[in-house]
């Protein structure tokens, strides 16, 4: 029973990591940039959903009631719009001018954007008329059907937010698979990641494909932001930091640059964390040690399989 419960917990956590990890890996696959500000795109998505609730469903929020179920798609749209807008701006303003700079420059920039976005939300969110102060954690609106009492399946607790999170990952992964392998733009994306110059010769606008990669990553991160809000019932400006770091770990674990690797890596990491909490006895067990085990796993993979679980061996292009 304990095992089943931890598998459910691990799957929930892993799905969240996987949704965020895809954003690291698609951008890396195209421009070899570790976008360390991607965790903040996830955070902005959660705040986008909250803002949408405050703007359109104010009476429910103020009355402490659950939002109607049909508010869920509206919140998703709001979250995705916020994340995508910030991600596209970030690419246009900060990364594109550095396209031909040494690789360290965009990396440092990414860390700068990460701090900038956290501080902007912390200091400015409460300045928007009628919005709550975001210097501490802010309650996240709860929604009918996806919030509420948990189900009990023969002793295993199944939160409604778990169903939302895992379901969101399944739908997003299926959509992504269709997009990458069946559409013209998806094929162009694969071409750019394999050989950008030759992709140009085919008539592919590489700058446009890079924007598409950022948009995909931001969309999935926004959905993850809502999932997180539903799970913990509150959000805060620094929620992107550890989640982003874990998702990055998941992407590396699966093989950075490989979309399916990000999904597998996320699920693996979530399961390892959950199982370590329950089954490692004594001093080193329990939830205080879960991050240690997560990163220990990363180190082991990097030592014995540096290309990640699904990654191909990286060969420098001639």
């Amino acid at each position: 029973m304990e095992l089943a419960q931890q598998l459910v917990n691990g799957l929930t956590l892993g799905s969240l990591y996987a949704l965020i990890a895809v954003g690291y890996t698609v951008v890396y696959g195209i421009i070899q940039l570790i976008n360390f500000a991607h965790g903040e795109i996830f955070m902005v998505g959660a705040f986008g959903a909250l803002s949408t609730a405050l703007l359109f469903f104010r009476s429910y929020v103020d009355g402490g009631e659950m939002l109607p179920f049909w508010a869920l798609p509206v919140l998703i749209v709001g979250a995705v719009a916020a994340s995508v807008a910030i991600a596209v701006l970030m690419e246009r303003i900060a990364y594109r001018p550095l396209r031909n700079a040494p690789r360290l420059a965009p990396l440092i920039t990414a860390i700068g954007i990460s701090v900038f976005l956290q501080e902007a939300v912390r200091l400015l969110y409460g300045k928007i008329p009628s919005f709550p102060d975001a210097k501490q954690k802010v309650p996240f609106p709860q929604i009918e059907v996806v919030s509420g009492p948990a189900f009990n399946l023969g002793g295993v607790t199944l939160q409604r937010s778990t169903i939302f999170t895992v379901g969101a990952l399944v739908i997003c992964a299926a959509g992504l698979f269709y997009f990458v392998s069946r559409t013209k733009t998806g094929r162009a994306m694969q071409a750019v990641s394999q050989d950008p110059d030759t992709a140009r010769l085919m008539g592919i606008n590489v700058d446009r494909i890079i924007v598409v990669a950022f948009v995909i990553g931001a969309t999935l991160a926004a959905v993850a932001g809502i999932a997180q809000g539903l799970q913990v019932t509150n959000i805060n400006f620094k929620m992107g930091f550890l989640a982003g770091l874990k998702a990055f770990t998941a992407a590396v674990l699966g093989g950075i640059g490989n979309v399916w690797g990000a999904v597998i890596g996320g699920l693996t990491l979530g399961l390892v964390e959950a199982l370590a909490v329950q089954f490692i006895p004594g001093t080193f067990g329990g939830s205080p040690w879960k991050d240690v085990w997560a990163f220990a796993l990363l180190i082991l993979v990097l030592v014995f399989r540096p290309q990640g679980l699904l990654g191909a061996k990286v060969v420098d292009r001639a």
């Binding site: 694969q190 394999q194 030759t198 140009r200 010769l201 085919m202």
Partner: protein
């Protein structure tokens, strides 16, 4: 005959090093023009500049009446100029068919399926292996795929960079025969080769490039007969 491509006083450099030092040449409609020269002569640099992947320091490139030096590389192919790059550069993890479809990326017309059939007719092995990842192909097969892919854009002019590189004599012959076939079907061709004999035999016109400058030009036959070319490129004394 009208000039399809006119390159004038083209200078290209990598930082301070001039790779192409003011070359001029023309390719008329329906021709096969060969650009020959040793490694490092500036042949590939010239083609990459025509395609917009590199920008010239000075000079002009006029294709079909349009100056290409300010056009983005991804827009050049839709003007009717295809480039099959050095080293073939097929997309290794994509299937043969996906590679070919990417060749038609810039097109919006309905004839793409037809042209896919035409590419398969030109190189039947591509049809047999249409679902196979292109990275598993031999050099010759990759070259066929690269040429087929370039033809999928339905170009007025095709630039081929070292199509015979690393191929067996039999495969080389096969590729060169295809060049003639494509010419007969109405495609103008600019062929860059180290293999001077094969390239000049099929050329209506040829240019010899040496460390960034054109040192000799003439019809394919004239160049094949020239003492300088024979000594330098055909290994004859």
């Amino acid at each position: 005959m009208s000039a399809m491509l006119e390159v004038k006083d083209l200078v290209v450099s990598y930082g301070k090093i001039k790779a192409v030092k003011g070359i001029s040449f023309t390719v008329d409609q329906g021709e096969v023009v060969s650009l020959i020269g040793t490694n490092g002569a500036g042949k590939t640099t010239t083609l990459r500049t025509i395609s917009g992947l590199l920008r010239p320091v000075s000079g002009s490139i006029v294709f079909d009446g349009r100056d290409l030096t300010k056009v983005a590389p991804h827009e050049i192919v839709s003007l009717g100029l295809a480039h099959s790059p050095e080293g073939r550069r097929i997309f290794p993890k994509l299937s043969v068919e996906e590679n070919l479809l990417l060749g038609a990326f810039s097109r919006k017309d309905k004839g793409i399926r037809e042209d896919l059939a035409a590419a398969f007719e030109l190189f039947p092995i591509l049809e047999e292996r249409r679902a196979q990842p292109a990275g598993t192909f031999s050099g010759g097969e990759q070259q066929m795929l690269a040429m087929g892919r370039a033809m999928m854009s339905r170009p007025k002019m095709l630039m081929l960079d070292e199509p015979s590189m690393g191929l067996s004599p039999l495969m080389m012959k096969r590729i060169m025969t295809t060049v003639t076939t494509l010419q007969q079907q109405g495609t103008t061709i600019l062929l860059v080769e180290q293999n001077a004999q094969a390239a000049l035999r099929r050329a209506t016109k040829g240019y010899v490039l040496e460390v960034g400058s054109i040192v000799l030009s003439g019809t394919g036959k004239e160049l094949l007969a020239s003492d300088d070319v024979r000594k330098a490129y055909l290994g004859e004394d």
